[in-house]
Symmetry: C2
Subunit: 707 residues, 2 copies
């Protein structure tokens, strides 16, 4: 039965929709910019007001993991908390045949025992500056798309370089609203990041793939790192105080993190393209990679260890994308998107006078650009995105070849990732000591070369050059045997080569990268000039139309930059049953029992032997209405006081459509509760050093009650 509150929202929604609602920005929707938080909305809806310092503390306590994910500072001494599955990349790279940190966990009992990650870069957002006017000024209406693209790239590369030189901070121009706004983000960068604590994968990812994106849930999906400066723990001014009590039912909570990508502002033509082309293509690749990696993993325990992080990533993407595709194939959801677009079209027509300039028909412009994209899609994906060369060594070779070529042209004209301001981060990754396994390379490269043949055909001239008269398997073996790029020293030498020198390299993988670079660049050029630039221009018009009509009540699509979401801790109804907002530690043991304590429901030994110590009523995982998506993993969740009450690690199955549309009925973010984290650190792991570091100033009283 609907309760009064629900009904009230229904009425409010109807009113909102009839009088120029934005694109459905109702309820707890929104991935808001930190320089434009939804203060009025929070005041109206939750009677929440806070000063700029509240937002600034949260912003600067938030951490971006460049490997893909979010985190937060939780102590003055640089302690960072994130998810186990965000830290997994580092854990995998630090592991060896005899030391499997990903599977077995890690616990540095002293500062000296903390281990440095091989290539982990953390970014902390310091400031945001609107540079829209300067970027747009560089592009004039008379320019062709190719010229416009070149001009835009030039001014962006230049702005970033100037900012880097002036501040010493990592400086990225971020494209918002698909081209509606350009903001300059300046980040403090940490590259000496050390592993402090990780639980066993068996508890961090308890339930594995079957329970992934499901709720109820029982995962201790956490991991601690520490940032260092000058070989000492960095001193952190803005960090989050720990709430031992954690979040309560119905409580207002905030999430600060880095949602990776959403497509909510896409036109219907664009979304149909995702549904009909990019998602099915992505699924086909994911299906085959999952099978190939699973088969490889079955060969021995060591091969399972080598592939485990890649395989987990593929499985996670597969489950997420299947859910997203199911949403796109759902006529009801597509009907809502269609109605949204229709409302915007009509509103734009009715309110034409309020627009600074005529909007034209950006929907058709998007459709035209998407059509070009459609025509080059497979080639662009195979060659430029490298889907045909699924190999870490190929990735390195490609980067080395382009680094040589791009370094030889002025900064303003370089491909974006080779701009001056990005080179330090790029080389940090390129020269990483992360292990590379020949046998795993062989499996993934042979399979992707076979896919290239299947998609392009044996007769294709480039395919013939790539294979050089060999079968995909033979050629993969030849390429891997014929490259020295596993050696970081070899990479560093080639990293200083000029274009001529690198072309004379006898390294087989470099030769392949050189061979495909011309065609790949051609597809990229077509994409940038005939797809990306027209899309930016069309979406800028749509964004301006929305600004004119809805003001600032529209937030931009996610871009893996810092955003603020909010919501309530709140259960939901599923197939006629009420799902409570949280699980407890007791539920963990019940779930393991019910599944015979078998993988992936097998508890690590210490969780079995120390069960008696635990308060089994401790809340473990919980759900909230906060608007999140992939990339938000590891995001801190704070209460009104700015104290950390949980850490986001997943969304439920109903949340997967959030890529396209926000729904509040059943979609939920899933977090680990701070009470369970403390309970586990204290009683299962005896991690007193970390507990002390978290708890000293932390509030132990319950944060202000329900709103």
């Amino acid at each position: 039965m609907k309760d009064t509150t629900h009904w009230m929202y229904g009425v409010m929604l109807m009113i909102a929709m009839t009088c120029l609602s934005p694109l459905g920005a109702f309820a707890d929707e929104g991935m808001w910019l930190f320089n434009d938080p939804p203060k009025q909305l929070l005041k109206d809806r939750y009677h929440f007001t806070a000063g700029d310092d509240w937002y600034l503390r949260l912003q600067r306590a938030s951490v971006r993991f460049n490997s893909g994910g979010s985190g937060s500072f939780v102590s003055a001494d640089g302690l960072v908390m994130t998810n186990h599955h965000v830290g997994a990349d580092c854990l995998q790279k630090l592991s060896t045949k005899d030391r499997d940190l990903l599977e077995d966990g890690f616990h540095a009992k002293t500062l000296a025992e903390e281990i440095r990650c091989v290539d982990l870069e953390l970014n902390v957002l310091q400031s945001i500056e609107d540079v829209t006017a300067r970027i747009n000024a560089a592009v004039t209406p008379a320019m062709t798309p190719a010229e416009a693209n070149q001009a835009r790239r030039a001014v962006m590369n230049t702005v970033e370089k100037e900012s880097l030189d002036a501040t010493g901070l990592r400086s990225d121009v971020v494209t918002l609203y698909h081209g509606g706004l350009y903001h300059l983000y300046r980040f403090k960068k940490y590259t000496d990041v050390r592993l402090v604590f990780a639980p066993e994968k068996g508890i961090a990812f308890f339930g594995g793939d079957p329970d992934n994106f499901e709720f109820p849930r029982y995962d201790l999906d956490i991991c601690f790192f520490r940032v260092y400066e000058n070989d000492k723990p960095a001193k952190i001014e803005h960090y989050l105080a720990w709430s031992a009590k954690g979040a309560g039912d119905g409580e207002l909570i905030f999430v600060s993190g880095h949602p990776g990508r959403t497509d909510r502002l896409d036109t219907m033509a664009h979304i149909r393209f995702l549904r009909d082309k990019t998602f099915p293509n992505a699924m086909q690749k994911l299906f085959r990679r999952e099978v190939i990696l699973t088969a490889y993993s079955g060969e021995s325990r060591e091969s399972a260890r080598r592939a485990q992080d890649d395989l987990s990533g593929v499985q996670n993407s597969r489950k997420a994308r299947l859910g997203m595709l199911a949403g796109l194939q759902d006529p009801e959801i597509m009907g809502r998107k269609q109605a949204e677009e229709q409302r915007l079209r009509e509103a734009a027509q009715e309110n034409a006078s309020r627009l600074r300039e005529p909007i034209g028909d950006p929907w058709s412009d998007v459709a035209a650009a998407v059509k070009v994209w459609d025509g080059i899609y497979y080639d662009w994906d195979l060659l430029e995105n490298g889907a045909a060369f699924n190999s870490k060594l190929f990735g390195i070779a490609r980067t080395l070849v382009r680094l040589a070529d791009e370094s030889a042209v002025p900064n303003a004209r370089r491909l974006r990732e080779y701009r001056e301001s990005n080179l330090e981060s790029l080389k940090f990754e390129l020269f990483s000591e992360a292990p590379i396994y020949d046998d795993l390379e062989m499996v993934t490269l042979a399979d992707s070369l076979s896919m290239l043949v299947e998609m392009k055909g044996v007769e294709d001239p480039l395919v013939q050059k790539v294979l050089a008269g060999k079968s995909p398997r033979e050629q993969a073996a030849r390429l891997i045997a014929g490259t020295k790029l596993k050696s970081v020293e070899a990479r560093k030498t080639l990293g200083q080569a000029d274009p001529d020198t690198i072309r004379k390299s006898e390294d087989a993988m470099i030769q392949l990268a050189v061979l495909v670079d011309g065609p790949a660049r051609e597809f990229r050029k077509t994409y940038e000039e005939q797809v990306q630039e027209p899309l930016r221009q069309a979406y800028a018009k749509l964004a301006n139309a929305r600004f004119a009509m809805y003001g600032t009540t529209v937030y931009p699509d996610a871009t893996f930059t810092l955003r603020l979401a909010f919501g309530q801790v709140k259960g939901y109804e599923d197939e006629g049953e009420q799902v409570p907002p949280w699980t407890t530690l007791a539920g963990l043991y019940e779930r393991a029992e019910e599944q015979g304590n078998q993988f992936p429901f097998e508890l690590p030994p210490r969780w079995l032997t120390r069960k008696g110590r635990l308060n089994l009523d401790t809340p473990f995982n919980f759900v909230s209405t906060a608007d999140i998506i992939g990339g938000n993993s590891g995001s801190p969740m704070v209460n009104r006081n700015g104290e950390i009450v949980g850490i986001i690690f997943d969304g439920n199955i109903h949340s997967l459509v959030l890529d396209f549309i926000y729904t509040e009925e059943q979609a939920r973010a899933v977090s680990v509760h701070t009470a369970a984290i403390l309970e586990a650190l204290r009683k299962v792991y005896n991690a007193d050093r970390i507990v002390k570091e978290l708890a000293p100033g932390g509030s132990t009283k319950r944060s202000p009650g329900k709103s």
Copy 2:
């Protein structure tokens, strides 16, 4: 280093090739017809001669499993031996949540304990009659392909019906050489088949997917059934005596079984179509099905049990087809096929005078037919092959709808599978009590409907009708909830319906089958008239050309009918190392140990506790040069005396290209040795009843030595 014997073969091959060799029928190549065995070849090569009774005994002791596989009679009381993975279909269907025969094995200690399979039909070939002239006489040169197709179908359906009426035997007209010959095969049929013994899956499929198609190998891939007549064990005249010593190194062996399908006589245009279209399409379906079934299996032990046979089948196909596709993508193998075709073209031209009629250009005819096939391929596969409706319930619905429609037309005009002579077998399967699981149906049907949408697009009119405004998941749920076809009674009622009545059915799955039947039949019609019939005519010309030039030294491609292969027990060289021809029981324990006794290398408990009893030097699995392919699984391997010395269960990874081309260098058939079977039955399973039944007249002396 090449030995003299190898070199000798090389010389022989060169001679053979220069003087009108068939398509590479050298060495131990060939899947020969029992009515035309390669007697001269066996005499020349192995000094082997045997009377017709030798061949007849082997023929009638050979058993075809209609679920897909081979077997043999090994006692006078109807005992049949096959592979565990051939028996798996029956084991799965007899299993329940609380009794997992597939995983845990089964052992009937008495006759009374033997369990009847729910829908297993075994066929035993009694006689072969050449009906080529009669079939071809029905087709005149003046006929259009559509008329020819209809005429051919009519005469085949009629010939079969006449034979059934006259003999009471199952009668199938088998198309050989893709249309070069038509033989009438008469089978004795057994439908009361009972399970006698199956080992645990852990030993039957030890090494699982990682070791599948690999050698060295350690699998007890066997299973025993018994055929009954009138509720008593059937009396069997022709059965194979058991050789306790089994096969020896270098020994001549024969394999009698049912290879499913090869494509060795295909033209290059046809093979390129397989490489570029059918294999990639099959791989995409297999990849997604494997992922979907694996994910479903992870949900609980019961779901893993429900899906295990389907999943094993998919994994097996995936690994086999990846190997086959790798062969097709190998320029060296394609070069050999191309050279073969060139030789046949030139020979046909040079020997035009020896041909009864001008050969014309059948290669172009094949290419033209394949082009038509290419144009309808995806639609035909989705709708007529049912790839879009991956559901057991849909299969039943489709069969019921067509049974009603086809029963209303004369036998001569019916679709082949609904011909009078086949109805008994068809209904035996249609009215099977095999369990159907709603949740598993949901997973496979929703995924295949989603694939339909991905491939045909949302806007496709038929897709819109199929989905009826729902998402694939919703519609799958609606269809499964809205059908009563899980009930065999419901099926039997509908099995007697006329076309009008079945169209008025309110059963949701029947309605779907009716909805897609029109379009599906259209694609089938195009396929049969514009692809299949032209291919038959073109391949008949090629076959006649080969007969004229090579005589009977060419065997037909495999057709899941009984064939005789031969060869030697023989190791091979792989990556510079000599692989011995067999493994031992000792090797099994070493392999388990080396893999930490973890799934899929985990030995069943009794194999651990009873290790001490075993003679660990007993040969376990072994390889031979016999020419086999999928469908040969479970084939008996006999020595010169016709005694059974092993049972085929797999080919090594190098054998996967045998679909297209025979290679003897590394390709090997893999068998279980009879000595290991006896050792295991006696000492691990205490299966004295079976041992006694196998051994009484069985030779214990070594069969005649090397040839």
